[in-house]
């Protein structure tokens, strides 16, 4: 029998599990780390996508956020004033302001009448600051987080536990010159001296900058995408520090500079939230810092790459192969040096390891598939444990040439497994020609009167039956070392047709189809071999051509070459 008590126990357990599951899936992770100004880019402060994400926060979320930033509003100004003058209430009284103080989280205003509840009851028709922010963010399709951060960087309003009325009427600094020089002139344009007007105008101008990327007789977005001279700071509040050229990359960054026309210098960036030097301005730095600390990255994660270099080694990685010619079925090692040009770190392991995958057709089986690959559509992972943005790293992998003669091209691109590809169109590609012969390259030949090599012979003016000594140079562009001795000695053979009896044959040749063996003991891939032997000019006057190419005896010929030795008998 199951008692009521037992049922309650089970129900409690289920409820606990439900709460556990729901809480573990719904609670947002907090942003633990302070923003890193080393990631600040003057050219790209925030992405267009994030800047215009008007649905990033609901009204309730905005309100909850404002509540969290002022846990205790000093409504009666009882705490000691940080600006001197006794308590905060006493300090404010000296400025003609009486308590109670109203903080942003508790602020209400009627956007039509501009009446608000600072120090008094909520007027009819008033809506909360959170609602005002949400309304205008939606109306102008601007991220409400942009407006919240602008409150803070202009007037510290978000975190202030004893704000003054002026901080509300100048909440976003709209219509407020940085320096007011005319005596008696208002610090800010009275037309915008209400909280709702400030939010409305800021959101409206941000939208204007986003939509109107031009400066003509009707509208001027001051700082456009492209090159702009931007001041380091206002020369009237410090030394004249001049300007620098900023190549603004997107409309959102253009909007930020058009709103706050200064670029933070390195001293400002080095200082975090602190003070830089005489040429430091802080508006756009603080925008970046507050946004990053409160709402996360200012830029969409981007994953992109560049090929820096590609090197092909032989199977043992003993030598670089200076060609794309491989024997059919031959294995080589490819070292692909790449640069992380995106915004995120690449990891070798973890949930999204960076790998090289077959591209075009994506995820198809690669034509150079090797048993060491992860699969025939996944060539391998990065060599390094991680590659930071801007750094270079490697993929290193085997390729197996197809077991047939032909020309093959394989496209590949890095990807974050389970997340995204990093294709640049169709990625990079490797082009390989296969043959059943070894690759080589005809370089040149020299001729002397004899093997002492003291006197040059003129191969265009030989006497009938004259014997000369020649050295032919051939570069090993295959992936296999050539050896003089052993089971497959590398020799020079007659070609076109191969193993044809040479008309230049003379004493000293191995046979009339094999002038000689290679001079060197071993010639590795990329090195040049020489073949030295006597040649006998034909008996009759005339012009003669002879074709030679290296052969790995008893194994394979090298690839065909149409260069030839030329002799003229006069």
């Amino acid at each position: 029998m199951i008692s009521k008590l037992n049922i309650h126990s089970i129900t409690k357990t289920v409820l606990f599990m439900l709460v556990f599951v729901m809480s573990s899936s719904l609670v947002s992770p907090s942003i633990a780390n302070a923003a890193d100004t080393s990631q600040f880019s003057a050219e790209n402060i925030i992405s267009d996508n994030i800047f215009t994400n008007s649905s990033s926060m609901s009204v309730d979320e905005i309100q909850r956020f404002l509540n969290s930033k002022v846990p205790n509003c000093d409504t009666m100004g009882t705490k000691r004033s940080e600006l001197g003058g006794g308590t905060r209430a006493q300090y404010l009284a000296s400025k003609g302001i009486s308590v109670p103080i109203t903080c942003l989280k508790d602020f209400y205003e009627n956007p039509a009448t501009k009446e608000n509840n600072y120090g008094k009851a909520i007027p009819a028709g008033a809506i909360s600051a959170a609602q005002i922010v949400s309304n205008y963010a939606k109306q102008f399709n601007i991220n409400p987080q942009v407006l919240l951060v602008t409150f803070q960087k202009e007037n510290g309003l978000v975190t202030d536990e004893w704000p003054t009325p002026k901080q509300f009427t100048q909440a976003l600094g709209f219509g407020c010159p940085d320096v007011v020089v005319s005596p008696g002139a208002p610090a800010c344009d009275p037309a915008y001296s209400s909280f709702s007007s400030q939010v409305y105008q800021a959101a409206r101008y941000f939208r204007g900058y986003m939509d109107n990327q031009y400066c003509n007789r009707n509208w001027c977005t001051t700082y456009l995408v492209g090159n702009n001279n931007i001041k380091w700071q206002d020369p009237r509040v410090g030394p004249n520090c001049g300007t620098s050229v900023v190549n603004i990359r997107n409309k959102a960054t253009s909007a930020l500079y058009s709103y706050t026309p200064y670029r933070p210098n390195q001293a400002a960036l080095n200082a975090g939230y602190g003070t830089g030097d005489g040429c430091s301005a802080y508006g756009n730095r603080n925008f970046y810092l507050y946004f990053s600390d409160w709402f996360g990255a200012t830029k969409d994660p981007s994953f992109s790459w560049q090929v820096v270099s590609q090197t092909i080694y032989d199977e043992n990685k003993a030598a670089i192969i200076p060609t794309d010619y491989l024997r059919k079925g031959e294995r080589v090692i490819v070292s692909l040096k790449v640069k992380n040009t995106g915004s995120e770190i690449w990891f070798k392991d973890g949930p999204n390891p960076v790998r090289l995958g077959i591209e075009n057709q994506r995820d198809s089986a690669g034509v150079f598939c090797d048993p060491t690959w992860l699969s025939c559509s996944r060539i391998g992972s990065i060599v390094e444990s991680q590659i930071a943005p801007g750094d270079e790293g490697h993929f290193e992998f085997f390729l197996t040439a197809p077991d047939s003669i032909g020309e093959f091209r394989q496209y590949a691109a890095p990807l974050l497994e389970n997340r995204a590809w990093m294709s640049n169109d169709t990625g990079f590609n490797t082009y390989i020609k296969t043959n059943d012969k070894y690759a080589w390259e005809w370089k040149s030949y020299d001729a002397w009167t004899d093997s002492t090599k003291t006197t040059r012979a003129d191969t265009n003016a030989l006497s009938p039956n004259q014997t000369i000594f020649v050295t032919l140079y051939a570069k090993n562009t295959s992936s296999t070392a050539w050896t003089k001795a052993g089971t497959n000695p590398t020799r020079l053979g007659t070609s076109h047709e191969i193993d044809r009896t040479s008309q230049f044959c003379t004493t000293g040749w191995i046979s009339c189809i094999r002038p000689t063996a290679m001079d060197q003991t071993t010639v590795y891939p990329g090195q040049t071999a020489s073949f030295s032997f006597y040649v006998k000019a034909p008996a009759n006057k005339g012009e003669y051509r002879e074709y030679f190419q290296p052969v790995l005896e008893y194994k394979a010929w090298t690839t065909e070459d149409f260069n030839h030795m030329f002799l003229k008998v006069i």
Binding site: M17, G173, D178, P186, A202, C220, W421
Partner: protein
Amino acid sequence: MLVTKKIKNKKRVAIITAVAVLLAASPFVYVYAFNGNLFGWQKSNTSQEQTPAINYDEPTQEQIDAGNDAKADSDATFDSGKGEGDDSTTTPLPSGKYAAEVTIIDSGSTNGDGDLSIRASVDAIDSEGKCTLNILTKSGAVVVNQTADTQAQSSYSSCLGFTVSKSDVPSGTYTVKITYSSNSHEGSASAELKL
């Protein structure tokens, strides 16, 4: 009756337990599936982005201090209704006007029509202010003269669009001069233009 109740109780327990197990397992099934382990597919060419987190932590002291800094910067008046200009540090120019800082942001890039686009800002907000563009040769001859109104921005003004036909300015080196003048402010700035 007692038998029926027992059966009903057993059914309730079984259903509740099943629901609990399903709910508890669902996140793991979800993660497993989206890693491609369950269905064998690979997500391609899309970014699996996380919802940006909102920081609901209490502010740091330096963030709180930002509000006090703002109050200190505008300490003198608050909303007392008096004039708010900082009249203690600025002296009028001989003309009786106050200096306005003019910045040439673009001294003549080529726009989409092949014309020259010149942009400038003024650190003053005067509704009646005017900008004047002069392009001068090395000898000081004026080859272009234009006037434009200003547009008030958040904390400054910008000259409303100078566009110069390239045919008006032959190849060479010029001085671009922007002059600003209003009832209360004046200022100018120059930059070199090479064509």
